[in-house]
């Protein structure tokens, strides 16, 4: 049974539709991410879950109860804010205990539970500090402890990592996943960072201009995106436009300018102009034409070295340049080519996706 049901929810502000007919079911104990570019409506969606915005249409159920118009302080959810919103005039311990104190929990129990929560986020030794004596990462842990101490049914996180540096972000991602398993409650995280969503979430909803484009596991989202937008937004992708010329049990046959007539596996029905999509890391680069698969000849125009991988741009006879990711799995890989070389790019038909234009 789902803990959160978002049914036909639309939110209109003056002049814009922030969320457009969203339908999302989130299961209990799930780590759910809402991913999208800025301004796509993901934060509005989260604020409707928390109770700071009321849907214009549709309903939101949390644990079977319609909360669409319920005040934020009555909802069984808690939120970690983007700015962390740690109360500056209170000690860390008072911050964590705040949510218990205002709801009438006894002073002794408040203190005990606040201390336990601080221990959970490894800040037990800083209880008497004021927030301005903490680092950004520590403040975020206070915000986490303050929300978790309430034992909510759902924890909402609004861009929680955006203010942290790269190293701390990675550490916090691991810690959030650990915490989620430890406390066993549903986490809903809003982010524009695809790495964050892919590495932490059980399932991801991708949003674009108010609409939910696709809801799937990270693997499915990456390997089988439903649309051009999702394919392009998550990871890098090469898109080759072509014309469908036929379909069979093996898949569809598409005529692509410098690739010729190729048949790629595809289950749905397509016709007319389509895009063939292939991820850069699925492509092999070689000096001579390989025996099998789809192949394109081109000239290396750009070579960016990243240590573990190299990102290479290859310009085919026509169309946009294609990007290829090469694993530098031997120390001599780097010597395998240079800008200006003619190379063959090849990939397997089953690694190719057919997407509507």
């Amino acid at each position: 049974m789902s803990i959160i049901s978002i049914r036909n929810v639309t939110k209109k502000f003056v002049g814009i539709t922030a969320v457009d007919n969203a339908n999302i079911e989130i299961a209990a104990n799930e780590f759910f991410a809402v991913l999208g570019p800025s301004g796509c409506g993901k934060t509005t969606l989260l604020r409707m879950l928390a109770g700071f915005e009321t849907p214009t249409m549709g309903e939101i159920l949390i644990d079977g109860v319609d909360v669409s118009t319920m005040a934020p302080n009555k909802r069984p959810v808690n939120m970690v804010f983007q700015s962390y919103a740690v109360f500056p005039h209170m000690t860390v311990l008072a911050n964590v205990g705040y949510g218990l104190k205002v709801t009438g929990v006894s002073a002794a129990e408040t203190r005990q539970r606040a201390e336990e929560a601080l221990e959970m986020v490894q800040l037990a030794h800083l209880g008497e500090r004021k927030p301005d004596q903490l680092s950004g990462g520590q403040r975020q842990r206070v915000a986490l402890a303050r929300a978790l101490v309430k034992r909510p049914k759902v924890l909402l996180l609004d861009e929680p990592m955006s203010a942290l540096d790269a190293k701390l972000r990675e550490q916090m991602q691991l810690e959030l996943t650990r915490l989620q398993e430890e406390v066993g409650i549903t986490f809903v995280i809003v982010t524009h960072d695809q790495d964050e969503a892919l590495s932490m979430a059980d399932r991801i909803a991708v949003m674009q201009s108010g609409r939910v484009e696709q809801i799937a596991t990270p693997e499915l989202l990456y390997e089988s995106p439903d649309s051009r937008f999702v394919a392009d937004f998550i990871g890098k992708v090469n898109l080759l436009d072509g014309q469908v010329t036929g379909a069979s049990d093996q898949g569809v046959t598409v005529e692509v300018a410098h690739l010729g007539r190729v048949t790629v596996p595809h289950s749905g029905r397509v016709q007319g102009v389509v895009s063939l999509a292939v991820r850069p890391e699925k492509i092999r680069m070689a000096v001579s034409r390989p025996d099998s698969g789809l192949a394109v000849q081109g000239r290396i125009v750009d070579w960016a070295y990243y240590g573990d991988t190299s990102h290479i741009h290859v310009q085919p006879a026509s169309g946009p340049p294609m990007s290829v990711t090469v694993q530098n799995d031997t120390r001599s890989t780097i010597e395998n080519g240079e800008v200006g070389d003619q190379v063959w790019l090849s990939w397997q038909a089953e690694d190719t996706l057919v997407l509507d234009r």
Binding site: A50, F52, P72, A85, F87, H89, Y98, V102
Partner: protein
């Protein structure tokens, strides 16, 4: 050997001799009169022009001057009531302007600030005309006889409080309020536990302003005070019209001391409130 002159940057103005001289002059002109006034309150001379020796008898004399003491008490009473009412009223106006959107908001904001820009003399005349037109009762027992002056003081000092508090609230992170609600607090709990503590330094500064504005106001008070409701500045003015005796100096010195103590106390409260805020 070449002597290197220290380069003086444009904002490093304290490094220039002529600038330092200028500062010293400003400082002296600002504080010398106050220091002189204090010194001459101990002068053993009725005329109080030439120094004739140390005495504290004028403090005694001021203390025994019933009219002066009454004016003094009147002033402190008015200032105290004004501070409380103007601070509450000003804070409420500030919250209204900070939090809500309503039609003609900017017009309201401008009107509210009018008492700050209107010349005091006009305010005084207006107040006088207003109170006599509506027939505000006079000759009531103390402290009700101070009501007209107090109302006039509140009218011109609450906008100052509102502006100071409003400026403070402009820096408030609305997510703090949302976080409080999210954690289960009602709107009132959120106000007292989260918004009010943030507002406090602004309230203290505003209250301090209201207190000093009321305590030393002469013009508006002069127009709204009756014969039996004399405040300290008005009383001093009437005394000075005959001669500047050390008695006036003594009373003024005590007032300066009281103002300094109140300011110090409030700044202390403010500093405590600020400890730990970003």
């Amino acid at each position: 050997m070449r002597l290197l002159r220290r380069r003086v940057d444009p904002l490093d103005y304290a490094g220039r001799i002529w600038m330092r001289t200028f500062f010293a002059m400003v400082f002296i002109l600002l504080y010398a009169p106050v220091v002189l006034m204090m010194a001459f309150s101990f002068n053993d001379s009725k005329r109080n022009i030439v120094w004739r020796g140390f005495t504290t008898k004028y403090y005694e004399k001021a203390w025994n001057n019933d009219g002066l003491i009454e004016a003094f008490i009147n002033s402190l009473t008015i200032a105290a009531i004004n501070t409380i009412v103007a601070t509450v009223l000003g804070a409420m106006v500030a919250l209204l302007l900070w939090r809500f959107r309503f039609p003609f908001k900017s017009a309201y904001e401008g009107f509210m600030a009018l008492p700050i820009v209107i010349p005091e003399i006009c305010m005084g005349v207006a107040m006088l005309a207003f109170f006599s037109r509506i027939g505000w009762p006079t000759g009531m027992p103390w402290p009700l006889n101070l009501s007209a002056i107090t109302i006039a003081h509140i009218a011109f000092s609450f906008p100052f409080v509102a502006i100071v508090v409003r400026a403070r609230m402009a820096g408030f992170n609305r997510e703090l309020e949302e976080a409080s609600r999210d954690l289960g607090a009602s709107e009132w709990q959120t106000f007292w536990h989260v918004i009010f503590p943030y507002m406090r330094p602004g309230l203290v500064a505003g209250a301090l302003l209201a207190f000093t504005l009321s305590l030393d106001d002469f013009v508006i008070t002069f127009f709204t005070s009756g014969p039996e409701t004399v405040t300290f500045p008005v009383k001093v003015y009437s005394m000075v019209r005959f001669s500047v005796t050390p008695e006036v100096n003594a009373a003024s010195t005590v007032l300066v001391a009281i103002t300094l103590v109140v300011a110090a106390l409030m700044l202390r409260v403010q500093r405590q409130g600020q400890a730990g805020s970003p």
